[in-house]
């Protein structure tokens, strides 16, 4: 092997490894840039009114987004109540009951469903729930978000249940415990932490979703506590309306609301990750 070939190989090596390193720093740099900007802008626009007051009519100063925060809690809460049990159930089916062929079909469907754009889910639920019920509602929004959470929950639950050693199931069965009891009292408790992690990540995903809420929750300026009684606001919706509006007062509040939303999403994701790591 000649010296020049060796030189060329070394140069290629250095160049390509350098490119990869630069790429990684670029990817992380973009995040730090965006996150830093959102946090800085958000903190400087934050005040107590944001959490305690309702939105004021356009153009007036002051006001807050308390109703949006309450609305987000209600819609995401409904989504969790609907989506998590069904998702875990589907996960149990995949890991404990499904035969290889049907299992793969359901698994594949779940994976493909996670790729369906959330706005399409919004239109779907608009037709399915909003038109049939006759009005926009927190329930419709909760169902839309639950549909987004469902395939994610199913796949992550399956993954976590599969981590439970087969010997534990066999030990329970050997004691004469029935199969459903084994799943309920042995398999699920062992996988508990993983299931909670999956649920938290799905909630974090749902909390930041905006597109499906446009056609299900719609949003309004008032505090709404009813699940079925009409439009309800949510934090992402409020950010969207304020960000695209012409008033600088509202822009400030959009930044502050974004700060709160990002913080909530990150805290939930972080908790999920820490739970999983501390095993």
């Amino acid at each position: 092997m000649s010296i020049s070939t060796y030189q060329r190989r070394r140069t290629t090596n250095a160049l390509m490894l350098g490119f990869c390193a630069v790429s990684a720093f670029l990817a992380v740099g973009v995040l730090v840039l965006i996150l830093g900007f959102v946090l800085a802008k958000g903190i400087s626009s934050l005040n107590i009114d944001l959490f305690t007051k309702m939105p004021v009519p356009e153009g007036e100063p002051g006001g807050g987004v308390a109703n949006s925060m309450v609305g987000s809690l209600i819609t995401v809460g409904l989504a969790a109540v609907i989506g998590i049990p069904i998702g875990i159930g589907a996960g149990i089916f995949l890991s404990e009951y499904a035969g290889p062929r049907l299992g793969d079909v359901v698994r594949f469907t779940a994976d493909v469903l996670t790729g369906v754009p959330s706005i399409v889910i919004g239109i779907f639920v608009y037709g399915l729930v909003v038109l049939r019920m006759g009005n926009f509602s927190a329930l419709a929004a909760g169902i839309a978000l639950a549909i987004i959470m469902l395939p994610i929950m199913a796949r992550s639950s399956e993954e976590m249940l599969r981590l439970v050693p087969q010997s534990q199931r066999e030990a329970a069965l050997a004691l004469g415990i029935s199969r459903w009891r084994t799943i309920l009292s042995v398999v699920i408790p062992v996988a508990q932490r993983g299931l909670v992690t999956g649920a938290l990540l799905a909630i974090a995903r749902a909390a930041g979703e905006t597109a499906p809420l446009l056609f299900t929750a719609l949003g309004n300026r008032f505090l709404s506590l009813s699940a079925t009684g009409g439009p309800i606001d949510a934090l992402p919706l409020r950010i969207y309306r304020y960000a695209t509006g012409p008033y600088s007062e509202q822009h400030q509040q959009a930044w502050a609301a974004s700060f709160v939303l990002v913080l909530a999403v990150f805290v939930i994701s972080l908790t999920a990750r820490l739970l999983l790591r501390r095993r």
Binding site: C20, I92, F108, P117, S118, I123, G127, E170, L201, A211
Partner: protein, 312 residues
């Protein structure tokens, strides 16, 4: 772990029915989704037929609906995003799986996953107030603006438009492609790398000669999953693309994607044909993303079946 046990009592039978029902609910959901969208867009489908897809005029006032501009906008903005994001994502994934020392790998992986968790509407807010002015003043007025003899870079500097949409989409799909590619590369057996090292290969030769060929289909799958996400991404794009319905070569002009059209017009759609046309737009978007996702999943499944927890 396929059925090491036999069910014998009533409790087991009930539990089985419930679990199978919940599992099959996913299939039912998929079917219902398609049925409902077809049902709601039926008026538009029968009114326009195939002309809906090829029609280039989107004019609700004249009751004329052609989806071509929105489909064009969807494809072009996603293409820009891929061109910008793929090299960087693959580079970053190689860095995270093959090069970085552990003390750097973990925080970097964590940060990339956090970027994936950033709500799209927040990215859109950042897009409006940071990206758009930068695109307008830096890209469109000075750098790319000097290349206005190329049709791509001609047109007035609005900031809002196809270019901004492509840029923001590239930021959105970057962490997704990076995270999945990294998982796929980590699934390559160490023995493959050792074989190359034993032949005296440099680090890059190990990567290009052993790691990348071994997981090629998984990497293609990761890129296509990113594409699927870009095609259906709504909020951030709606906030920066500027809502225009022309098919032009210029990237500086306001445009629309299928998703952005539905998001910005659905609530103002005032008659049933208008609503139906928007639903058909969503149906087309669903068809495109289903196709893309099915291809991508098949490719990724050949390498690694488990979902990373952050997988979209």
């Amino acid at each position: 772990m396929r059925r090491p046990w036999r069910s014998g009592n009533a409790g087991d039978a009930i539990a089985r029915v419930i679990a199978v029902g919940l599992g099959l609910s996913l299939l039912a959901l998929g079917g219902l989704l398609i049925y409902e969208l077809v049902d709601e867009s039926w008026q538009s489908i029968t009114e326009f037929g195939l002309g809906f897809i090829t029609g280039t005029t989107w004019d609700p006032v004249a009751r004329e609906f052609g989806a071509a501009p929105a489909i064009y906008g969807t494809l072009v903005s996603s293409l820009i995003a891929l061109i910008l994001a793929v090299p960087v994502s693959l580079g970053a994934a190689i860095f995270l799986s093959e090069i970085a020392p552990p003390w750097l790998r973990n925080p970097f992986s964590f940060l990339v996953e956090m970027l994936a968790a950033l709500p799209s509407v927040v990215l859109g807010l950042w897009g409006i107030y940071v990206l758009i002015p930068w695109v307008r003043d830096f890209l469109e007025r000075s750098t790319l603006g000097h290349l206005s003899f190329i049709p791509l870079f001609s047109g007035p500097p609005f900031g809002l438009g196809m270019l901004a949409a492509g840029l923001i989409l590239s930021i959105m799909i970057l962490p997704i492609i990076t995270a999945i590619s990294r998982d796929v590369m980590l699934a390559v057996p160490t023995s493959q790398r050792e074989a190359m090292v034993a032949l005296g290969a440099t680090k890059w030769e190990v990567i290009s000669g052993a790691v990348l060929p071994y997981c090629r289909s998984g990497l293609v799958g990761a890129v296509i999953l990113g594409l699927g996400r870009a095609l259906g991404e709504t909020m951030a794009v709606t906030m920066v693309i500027g809502r225009g319905y022309n098919i032009t070569a210029s990237l500086f002009r306001p445009a629309s994607t299928a998703a952005s059209a539905v998001a910005s017009e659905f609530n103002e759609a005032s008659y049933s044909l208008y609503i139906s046309a928007l639903v058909e737009l969503a149906l087309i978007l669903l068809a495109i993303t289903l196709l893309v996702n099915i291809v991508a999943r098949l490719l990724v499944w050949r390498i690694a079946r488990s979902p990373g927890l952050i997988r979209e």
